[in-house]
């Protein structure tokens, strides 16, 4: 059951570094118990936003609310949030057990009790047998679990994750991603996860927050963001979209809904383009198209369709799509 005390709200929050505005008066509501991904290119303000929620960065303007508390000016440890750092920031001089027990030790909890509680949490993340190891002796995935246990021991109401998967190799990244999702479902409180990978955000999030230049471009479910990007930026950043100019406005059409034909089809929007390159990807074929007015023009053709009538680079093609698949951009 989601704990209503873990709903997070940002009200006109800004962060300025001197003359530079990193985060520009953003409003955001994250429902209790949801998995929220802050997504955007580097420098878009997503990390600053997370650090302001965590209390590691002072809010220049606005308010941060967690549950029914205004936590804007509370110290990091009193906010009810816990942070998982980019490279996990485990203390290299302490054992895994002492790392997890660290915050209890700071509070002055007796040794026996804190070790017992830390051990229990380690068992929960399946790291029990590693309690006496040093962080350097663990793999990336194991370090992530220890970092999680260390965050959980403070009994937070919201867990803040700063690019938690970026330190892992691609194979492990996918596995630990699934693990994060499972933990979030199990723990039932809010996770706020910063990432620059749209793939990661789509796989994990209940709510995707796409940021650009210190502002929020769109807040929606991954499905919504992918099918109805709010702006050209979102369409391009999410990938798999073509941005086309159409009767005075811009529309996006998903690359997998673009069709190729040798004859001009009737009654649907179409343009003529040249095949620039063909990349085989397994279950589908990525066809890069060259058109004078359309940048990054691609079509994703299912493997069977492609090989029924293969295209060669240099050929001219009629590129068309269903009018209903064209999504108008704001």
């Amino acid at each position: 059951m989601p704990n209503s005390q873990s709903a997070l709200e940002l009200v006109r929050v800004s962060k300025r570094y001197g003359a530079v505005t990193a985060v520009d008066a953003i409003d955001l509501k994250i429902p209790a118990g949801s998995y929220c991904c802050l997504l955007g290119p580097s420098g878009c303000g997503k990390t600053s936003t997370l650090r302001m929620i965590a209390g590691h960065e002072v809010v220049s303007e606005g308010d941060v609310l967690l549950g029914n508390r205004n936590i804007t000016y509370l110290p990091a440890a009193e906010r009810g949030t816990a942070m998982m750092f980019q490279s996990y920031a485990l203390f290299p001089h302490l054992t895994v057990l002492d790392n997890v027990a660290f915050s209890l030790r700071m509070k002055g909890v007796a040794k026996a009790e804190r070790q017992q509680r830390a051990q229990a949490l380690l068992e929960r993340v399946a790291m029990g047998p590693y309690a006496q190891r040093r962080p350097a002796e663990l793999s990336g995935g194991q370090q992530q679990r220890v970092a999680l246990a260390r965050a959980l021991i403070t009994e937070p109401r919201a867990l803040l994750l700063d690019e938690p998967l970026s330190a892992l190799d691609p194979f492990l990244r996918v596995r630990m991603r699934a693990e994060l999702k499972r933990w979030q479902a199990e723990l039932g409180f809010t996770f706020v996860h910063v990432t620059h990978s749209q793939e990661e955000a789509m796989a994990l999030a209940d709510q995707v927050v796409v940021m650009n230049g210190g502002r929020i471009e769109q807040v929606a479910s991954p499905h919504e963001v992918f099918n109805r990007p709010a702006s050209e930026f979102v369409a391009r950043f999410m990938g798999g979209h073509n941005v086309l100019a159409q009767d005075g406005g811009k529309v996006s059409v998903r690359a997998d809904l673009i069709r190729l034909a040798r004859q001009r089809p009737e009654g649907v929007p179409a343009v003529e383009a040249r095949i620039a390159a063909v990349e085989y990807q397994g279950s589908y074929v990525l066809v890069e198209l060259a058109h004078d007015e359309i940048a990054d023009f691609t079509a994703i053709v299912p493997e069977a369709d492609f090989f029924a009538a293969p295209w060669q680079a240099g050929e001219a093609a009629q590129v068309f799509w269903q009018a209903t698949d064209a999504h108008r951009l704001g």
Binding site: A76, S87, A89, K107
Partner: protein
């Protein structure tokens, strides 16, 4: 050229000279200027001597002479007294340089934001080394002497009615000079260790509710450990073997182990000086060993 040597040359050209050969120039220097003198000192410390000659032999006479009368529990022998005094200077100098050095390094590593300012401050720490040790020591004399600046000032204000004579040529001035000369040897390795501390560790500690002092004690101090040990080894070995600073700042009135060795060599009592040097070396090695153990134990608590 013999045909057999050709493949070897080709291999060297490809992979460089064998490791042993590459290390040999430094090994030679090390052997010639460190190992050989050390072996000679140990050897000479067992030689026999009279007032005017050294006699190659194997005798424990020198060591016996150093510890003569030291079994008397009531009245401490000269050797023990000298060592005790040297230990005291070492401890005082070590504690002072550690406190000051750690604080300065902490300031430079965590409070000075820009790398440029860090470099500037670092150079400021190093500049005094452009003059010689002795000059830096002597420069204290006009400040601390009976008619020095400090005494003039205190007398002028009427804080004291006669000049303080413990300011110069006293244990105080010796420790002061040690701190002045050696603090930099603490700052550099500790600063170095601190710069390698991942800043996110400090945030992680703060996230876990650690106060400023707790972060200092539980995160920064243990992670600066190597720097602290290296700095301590520098300072302690320098002070334990010192005879110049104690001589100049102590007005040639204070004994130290180094001073004993210096006096003995000046009277050409080389075997006795060598025996003293060997003992000093062993004592310093024991201190260093103990120091590394001490810091290890602290971590277990």
């Amino acid at each position: 050229m013999k045909p057999a040597s050709r493949p070897m040359l080709a291999r060297w050209r490809l992979h460089g000279l064998p490791a042993g050969l590459q290390a040999s120039p430094y090994a030679l220097v090390f052997l010639l200027f460190f190992v050989l003198p050390l072996v000679l000192i140990v050897a000479v410390s067992f030689w026999d001597s009279t007032e005017y000659e050294m006699i190659p032999a194997f005798t424990g006479k020198n060591y016996a002479e150093i510890f003569a009368g030291c079994s008397n529990a009531q009245d401490m022998c000269v050797t023990f007294r000298t060592y005790l005094s040297t230990f005291r200077f070492s401890a005082l100098a070590w504690l002072s340089t550690l406190l000051i050095g750690f604080t300065v390094a902490y300031f430079m590593a965590f409070h000075v934001r820009t790398a440029r300012m860090q470099t500037v401050l670092f150079v400021l720490c190093i500049i005094p080394f452009w003059t010689s040790n002795v000059i830096r020591m002597i420069s204290w004399v006009p400040l601390l002497g009976r008619n020095g600046l400090i005494n003039d000032f205190l007398l002028g204000l009427g804080i004291t009615d006669q000049p303080l004579d413990w300011l110069l040529f006293s244990p105080f001035s010796v420790v002061l000079a040690f701190v002045h000369l050696f603090t930099v040897f603490m700052i550099v390795p500790i600063f170095n260790a601190m710069m390698r501390i991942d800043r996110s560790l400090i945030e992680a500690a703060r996230d876990a509710g650690a106060s400023g002092w707790q972060i200092l004690w539980h995160v920064i101090v243990p992670l600066s450990r190597t720097g602290i040990i290296i700095g301590s080894i520098f300072v302690i070995t320098l002070v334990m073997g010192d005879f110049v600073t104690i001589g100049v700042m102590g007005g040639q009135q204070i004994a130290s182990v180094g001073k004993i060795i210096q006096v003995q060599t000046s009277y050409l009592q080389f075997p006795l000086a060598a025996a003293n040097a060997v003992i000093l070396l062993l004592v310093v090695l024991m201190i260093i060993w103990g120091l590394t153990r001490l810091v290890d134990i602290r971590k277990e608590l």
